[in-house]
């Protein structure tokens, strides 16, 4: 909104992994996890990436998080190619984008208390902040995710799965980023807790003007929280559009198959089989 450039732009991204040689002298085969993906995410909106395991959505997420250098293409955040930046430049840029991961048990270091967990991005990315500023940011982040300030002195194992995911979201918020890349952030949570977490993410988006790149295999979740959705299959985006539009009128055969396969309440027995058969191979 402030600038003409979109908050996040991914251009022709390619990320390949070399595989082990099948025999000693054979050429190394290559796994093309992401094959030329382009995306645009305007500030303040949310974009979902859906697809099944192995489609490349998590690799794409890690490329956008600045964790895996792509072989080709660019990741532009606020118009700046993060892989063209120097080390120091990338650290400065990281203030603007943070991440939330799937596993609320694995994404928090069990040896660190919540204060230390929240402080890490702040101390590393914004070392200029004063002690008082840091304390107030910790309280602000905890309050934003609905945790009491007493939580700061506690360790991850003292929290439930849903609470841990709130801590992970608080950590992502502490540098006051514009973009949050969330890789399956609610997949490990029970339905009722998942709803709390999704509502929290929607609240935060409206209050703080956040943008989400929301990666999930769960169509229902993506439908609930995103403005636009991109369907990925075998490293490519096969369909992209406004979420409601894509769900109401899927154009690509794979999208239709995905939507048709998802079990729905009220549908009655054996509806699923027909849906799967309808899909052209």
């Amino acid at each position: 909104m402030r600038t003409a450039a979109p908050l996040l732009e991914v251009r022709d991204l390619v990320r390949e992994y070399p595989l082990p040689r099948p025999s000693l002298f054979a050429p190394r085969p290559v796994l093309r996890a992401v094959q030329g993906v382009s995306l645009t995410l305007p500030a303040g909106s949310s974009l979902g990436i859906v697809g099944e395991s192995g489609c490349g959505k998590s690799t794409l997420a890690r490329c956008v998080m600045g964790l895996e250098r792509p072989q080709e293409g660019q990741v532009l955040i606020d118009g700046e190619d993060i892989y063209a930046l120097s080390r120091a430049g990338l650290r400065r840029a990281r203030v603007k984008f943070q991440a939330v991961f799937q596993d609320p048990y694995g994404s928090l270091d069990p040896r660190h208390d919540v204060r230390r967990i929240l402080l890490e991005p702040l101390a590393s990315l914004q070392p200029e902040t004063s002690r008082a500023e840091r304390e107030s940011r910790i309280l602000e982040a905890l309050e934003a995710v609905g945790l009491p300030s007493a939580a700061a002195g506690r360790y991850p194992h003292e929290f439930s799965g849903g609470q841990r995911q709130r801590i992970a979201i608080a950590r992502a918020l502490i540098t006051r980023p514009a973009l949050i890349v969330a890789d399956e952030p609610v997949s490990a949570l029970d339905v009722s807790i998942q709803a709390q977490a999704l509502n929290l993410m929607m609240d935060l988006q409206e209050r703080l003007g956040l943008s989400y790149l929301f990666i999930s295999h769960d169509l229902g979740v993506v439908r609930a929280i995103t403005d636009r959705v991109a369907v990925m299959q075998a490293g490519k985006i096969v369909e992209e559009g406004p979420t409601q539009e894509v769900f109401a009128h899927p154009r690509h055969a794979y999208t239709r198959r995905l939507i048709g396969s998802a079990p729905k309440p009220f549908s009655g027995r054996r509806r699923r089989a027909r849906a799967a058969q309808e899909a052209p191979a």
Binding site: S192, A195, M202, Q244
Partner: protein
């Protein structure tokens, strides 16, 4: 009149002698050919119920109440006879086919193992059956040889092997604990169809344990919704979905993204999911009154005094009566 295939009659499982109750007074009957879906969130006790039926509860857990299989009182059965039931008449399919299969044994040997053990077949006989079973679950030879190992298969293929293993001895009861949770949606649909067909063909009873309302709705004839170690609502699937008499059943549905009405005024805020406030109570801290009262949106003063029992909602006559453990069951119709 013969005894029902599986009958739970006030089944209670407590931890140690002190008695933190993990399951409290579960009652249900399952006959051959029926498909029962057990739905609930983690901590509801649905997987524990399966372990209790299989006789695989950890040592420090005490079982009381009735738990009968074809007339046999399972907790009183000597381990020797229980072992002959397991795999032979009661078979189980687990969530994670990677860890439930032995990585150093070929799939053919794993499928044949049960028949050799329980039916005393020779290796050749058992492997011939294993071949037919693999063909049946959609893993035809020669592409899917009996000599393959689990790591050479995809997740969906491994789950097919699990189903072949479970069906190998023609069991009377199949217990499937979250059989498709680890799989992609398109694969999930195929696996559920396969499970459905196997049950259809063998006439076995299916106890399907899942957290996914969509999965039960499409697979089960009737469902039992579990919360905090209790069955809070049960009945024919269509009836339960049509009415959702227990506020927890309603809440579970409304909280899932299926329950979300996406209509939204242009420029207006995004509609929120109807989250159930709070958390499932810890087994040691379950209240003596209604276990859902603290999170319930329709709570009345008497809900904080009385622990409701499962009571019929309809006049009866139906094959599966619709029951709910609620003092003030909802009249019907979901919020959206």
């Amino acid at each position: 009149m013969s005894a029902p295939l599986l009958e739970l009659d006030g089944l209670t499982v407590a931890l140690g002698t002190g008695g933190v109750e993990l399951l409290s007074g579960l009652s249900l009957v399952l006959e051959r050919g029926e498909r029962l879906g057990l739905v609930g969130e983690s901590g509801s006790g649905k997987s524990l119920t399966a372990l209790a039926i299989m006789g695989l509860l950890p040592e420090q857990m005490r079982v009381s109440g009735g738990l009968r299989f074809a007339g046999d009182d399972l907790p009183a059965l000597p381990e020797e006879r229980m072992r002959r039931l397991r795999g032979r008449r009661i078979a189980m399919i687990f969530q994670e086919p990677m860890t439930a299969l032995n990585p150093v044994m070929s799939i053919g040997a794993q499928i044949a193992e049960g028949r050799r053990l329980h039916l005393g077949e020779s290796r050749a006989e058992a492997e011939a059956v294993a071949r037919r079973l693999l063909d049946r679950v959609g893993l035809p030879g020669p592409r899917f040889d009996l000599g393959l190992y689990p790591h050479q298969l995809s997740g969906g293929q491994r789950q097919r092997v699990m189903i072949a293993m479970a069906a190998a001895c023609g069991p009377d009861l199949l217990i499937a604990d979250e059989p498709t949770t680890a799989l992609d949606v398109t694969v999930q649909a195929q696996i559920l169809d396969l499970l459905d067909e196997i049950v259809e063909e063998t006439g076995a009873a299916l106890l399907l344990i899942t957290h996914d309302l969509g999965v039960v709705s499409e697979t089960a004839d009737r469902i039992a919704v579990m919360y905090a170690g209790r069955i809070v609502e049960t009945g024919a699937t269509e009836e339960v979905f049509a009415r959702m008499a227990h506020p927890y059943s309603q809440g579970l549905f409304a909280a899932s993204p299926y329950g979300l009405d996406l209509r939204r005024a242009p420029g207006g805020p995004r509609p929120r999911l109807k989250a159930i406030p709070g958390m499932v109570p810890d087994p040691a801290r379950r209240p003596a009154h209604c276990v859902f009262a603290e999170r319930c949106g329709f709570v009345q003063p008497d809900c904080l005094r009385i622990s409701p029992r499962l009571a019929p909602l309809d006049s009866g006559g139906a094959r599966w009566p619709h029951l709910a453990a609620c003092l003030h069951p909802r009249a019907g119709g979901l919020a959206p």
